[in-house]
Amino acid sequence: MSFYNSQAVLIVAAILFVLGLIGVLTRKNIIFILISIEVMLNAAGLAFVAAGSRWGQPDGQVMFLFILAMAASEVSVGLALVMQTYHQHKTLDAEKLRALRD
């Protein structure tokens, strides 16, 4: 049993989330954008687990499990889309992908 400052955990989660957001906003490569989205989801999960641990309830960890399932399916579909765009356009530049059909 130990004591924490409850604000410190939330501030760490907020910093991680904003770092992921900066990655999404500034990167042009689709793979880096996917990586940054993973960082953001992880930070949201950290906030959930911290809140669950603050009140001693299991709900935060349950929500983390759902976030994990969502992140797994999101990254698999996203990587399939990345492969497909690379085969059709031969580039990973997000700014080059402007046409809805080929």
Partner: protein, 191 residues
């Protein structure tokens, strides 16, 4: 222990900064592994051992491996790194990062204004988590199963290597163009 928490959160933040600033995709992924391991350490110090184990196995294991496989299949090497270096000029990243940092400072100020409750961490047992998962959240669990199924089917469908199907008019145009080319070739041969 608070010391454990603070050191691992500093490591997590530094590793994440390295993730979003690297040029080479593999280097970014390796720093991402470090970041996930540090976050797993934070979970462990917050009294959530089950979630920490899942973080290591699923995030640092499965998702990273998936990303590394795609990077290897697309053969992203030093060319990509030089391209990234060209793309990531200061004038590109300074504006969004400054605005995001302003938002972050606002959020930190808001968080600091609340009453500073010292948090007493008691580990939440795995048994409690699983009972709650299969009792109160059973519908959400089934929906997560649907989501995973749809993700698998969608990934398999999108990732299939398709032949390019042209519309029939376009196909005829192409055939005409090919016929013209053939005729030209025949004419040149005859001449």
């Amino acid at each position: 222990m608070p010391l454990l928490f603070y050191t691992s959160s500093v490591i997590a933040i530094l590793a994440t900064i390295m993730v979003i600033t690297r040029y080479h995709p593999i280097h970014a992924l390796l720093y991402l592994v470090v970041s996930f391991l540090a976050v797993a350490m934070i979970f462990l110090s917050l009294g959530a051992p089950f979630v920490a184990v899942l973080e290591v196995i699923l995030y640092a294991g499965a998702i990273i491996v998936l990303l590394i496989f795609v990077v290897m299949m697309l053969n992203l090497g030093t060319d990509t790194a030089t391209q990234e270096k060209q793309w990531l000029q200061p004038k590109v990243w300074i504006g969004p990062s400054l605005l995001a940092l302003v938002l972050l400072s606002e959020m930190v100020i808001l968080l600091m204004q609340g009453d500073n409750a010292d948090m007493q961490v008691t580990p939440v047992e795995i048994k409690q988590v699983s009972i709650s998962l299969y009792k109160e959240y059973i519908i959400a669990l089934e929906l997560a199963g649907f989501l995973l199924m749809a993700g698998i089917v969608g990934a398999a469908h999108i990732g299939k290597h398709k032949k390019k199907h042209l519309h029939r008019f376009l196909q005829e145009e192409n055939l005409d163009a090919e016929n013209k080319k053939m005729k030209q070739v025949e004419e040149t041969v005859n001449n």
